[in-house]
């Protein structure tokens, strides 16, 4: 149990001043500008926006700078800022088919309408350190193909498969999705709510879980049917005009995974699907998300649940880095009273042990569960305090 303590104000103030000094670094060098981070470290910015669940590149860059490059801390900062803003609108569903394509590839079809477009990718780089960057070499601008002025339509590839009925269709039944920022998650959760939680989930965690399915813990034989990145316009319905209007555009990454067959006596076998969508350029995240999304459909598709990635409550309750780092970090706070009571308990158990047990009949000293353990499990099940991140217990 964490009990409030007083004192230490001066030490805390000086610690924070030292932190700011460290963050500033060598005063002989120019200070890093937030705009430079947004411009030159944009994949970090995209990850912060995605896991903070707030699209604002400038603020994500600020959070990254303020956190000295600690992504988890930056996510926490931006998520905390999010709680200070009112919600003005809910968008129309984003139309990724109309994306202005920067990158679009398929691992399943070689020749696709609109073509395979690599975009600004790390794929096919040799992963050799580039010492020219250390030397500050000039970088030539990107090349353009000036004979191409109009973007070719890039239909969703899985729609092509649908013509033959080979892949399950994703059809809108008009149902309103639940919003986990408004309603506490309740298990079992439907796929829309699961995707909302996965979209803000920690990339490393989702990557590990997705990887585990590939290694056999809930294997589902995936192919990257289509991966696309680019700009999508955001449309919002406004009451003032009773009209749907465009308010700007955002960068998105999307992954459509195709997985091995499902089917029943009634339905012919067909490919099943997993889906990943994230802010910015977050390809790895969307691939991992699509693998985990598909794994979490095990029950719906009548598959045996044999791997951790298929257990919805386990996967989803531990995906949020703000929750996770908050609860792990609280262990650093003074637990003097709690620990004192454990010391007392341990001394009593040892006294009883000495009194009762003979040398040949040792009893195990299992650690009795404390109030904190129980309350932690309860808070994980019922109340899911996503916004604070710090569980005061």
């Amino acid at each position: 149990m964490y009990v409030a303590v007083k004192g230490g104000e001066q030490a805390i103030a000086r610690a924070h001043r030292w932190l700011a000094d460290r963050r500033r670094g060598d005063r002989e060098r120019p200070e890093l500008e937030v705009a430079q981070i947004g411009d030159q470290l944009r994949l970090a910015v995209d990850r912060v926006m995605s896991e903070a669940s707030l699209y604002d590149p400038e603020l994500a860059a600020l959070a990254f700078k303020q956190a000295s490059g600690d992504l988890t801390e930056a996510v926490f900062l931006l998520r905390a800022y999010r709680t200070t803003l009112p919600r003005l609108a809910v968008s129309e569903p984003l139309d990724t088919a109309s994306m202005r394509i920067e990158r679009r590839i398929s691992a399943t079809y070689k020749d696709i309408p609109g073509g395979q477009i690599l975009g600004p990718t790390y794929d096919y780089t040799h992963r050799l350190l580039d010492f020219l960057q250390l030397a500050g070499a000039e970088v030539p601008p990107a090349e353009t193909r000036d004979d191409v002025t109009d973007a070719e339509p890039c239909p969703q590839i899985l729609e092509l498969l649908n013509d033959e009925g080979l892949v399950e269709q994703a059809v809108d039944d008009g149902s309103e999705p639940m919003d986990i920022t408004r309603d506490p998650p309740d298990y079992p959760m439907d796929r829309a709510a699961r995707l909302q939680m996965l979209a803000r989930g920690d990339e490393g965690y989702l990557l590990a879980l997705g990887y585990s399915t590939q290694r056999g813990y809930g294997r589902n034989h995936p192919f990257a049917g289509e991966i696309r990145q680019g700009q999508v316009e955001v449309e919002v319905h406004v009451e003032e005009w009773d009209e749907t209007i465009c308010v700007g555009e955002i960068a998105l990454s999307e992954c459509q995974m195709i997985n091995q067959f499902g089917g029943s006596r009634e339905a012919a076998p067909q490919f099943t699907r997993g889906y990943g969508l994230a802010f910015g350029h977050n390809e790895r995240k969307t691939m991992a998300m699509a693998l985990v999304d598909r794994a979490l459909r095990a029950e719906e598709l009548g598959e045996p649940i044999s791997g951790p990635a298929q257990q919805a409550e386990f996967v989803l309750a531990h995906a949020d880095s703000v929750d996770a780092s908050g609860f792990v970090s609280h262990l650093k706070l003074p637990h003097y009273v709690d620990f004192q009571s454990e010391l007392d308990l341990l001394r009593r158990l040892r006294r009883e042990h000495a009194r009762h047990s003979s040398p040949e009949r040792g009893e195990s000293l299992d650690r009795p569960s404390t109030e904190e353990d129980t309350s932690a499990r309860k808070s994980g099940q019922g109340k899911h305090d996503r916004e604070s991140g710090v569980h005061g217990s």
């Binding site: 803003l85 070689k110 899985l158 994703a170 999705p177 009209e243 465009c246 700007g248």
Partner: protein, 146 residues
């Protein structure tokens, strides 16, 4: 000349950087005075995606959104919305909406602000398309055992 619809004008101004709008705004000359009825204020829009791109909607996450409503001296009201936190940007969009309701200003707005912004937006998007097209690839499948 074709008249830009209210929705198209809102879209064009929301997709144009504020600095670009301001660069052309001066060409309108002296505009009628206005006051802010609401905001400019920054909040969020919750963004929805679709499962598998075409299926049921789900909540993806939020983005910052700024809105403004202005009134001209004669009571004409204009509204504007824009992604992000730029108050001036939202105010300019609202002001353009109000001004466009007056025939006297509408044509000047079209020719001196909206038309050049539309050209700039088209040029930016053409350049993006041409850059992406330069990375278009044709994969060859190698036949094994030959």
């Amino acid at each position: 000349m074709t008249r830009t619809s209210r929705g198209d004008r809102q879209r064009l101004l929301a997709l144009s950087p504020r600095q670009h709008i301001e660069a052309h705004w001066g060409a309108l000359g002296r505009l009628p005075g206005h006051r802010c009825l609401r905001g400019p204020e920054t909040g969020m829009a919750m963004l929805k995606g679709r499962i598998g791109a075409t299926g049921n909607a789900f909540h993806l996450g939020e983005m910052t959104l700024t809105r403004a409503s202005v009134a001209l001296g004669d009571g004409t009201v204009g509204h504007g919305w824009v992604r992000g936190r730029d108050h001036r940007h939202a105010e300019l969009i609202a002001l353009a909406d109000a001004v466009a309701q007056h025939t006297a200003w509408q044509e000047a707005l079209e020719t001196r602000v909206l038309a050049p912004l539309a050209d700039e937006l088209a040029a930016r998007q053409r350049r993006d398309t041409a850059t992406a097209a330069a990375t278009r690839v044709d994969f060859f499948t190698l036949v094994r055992g030959e």
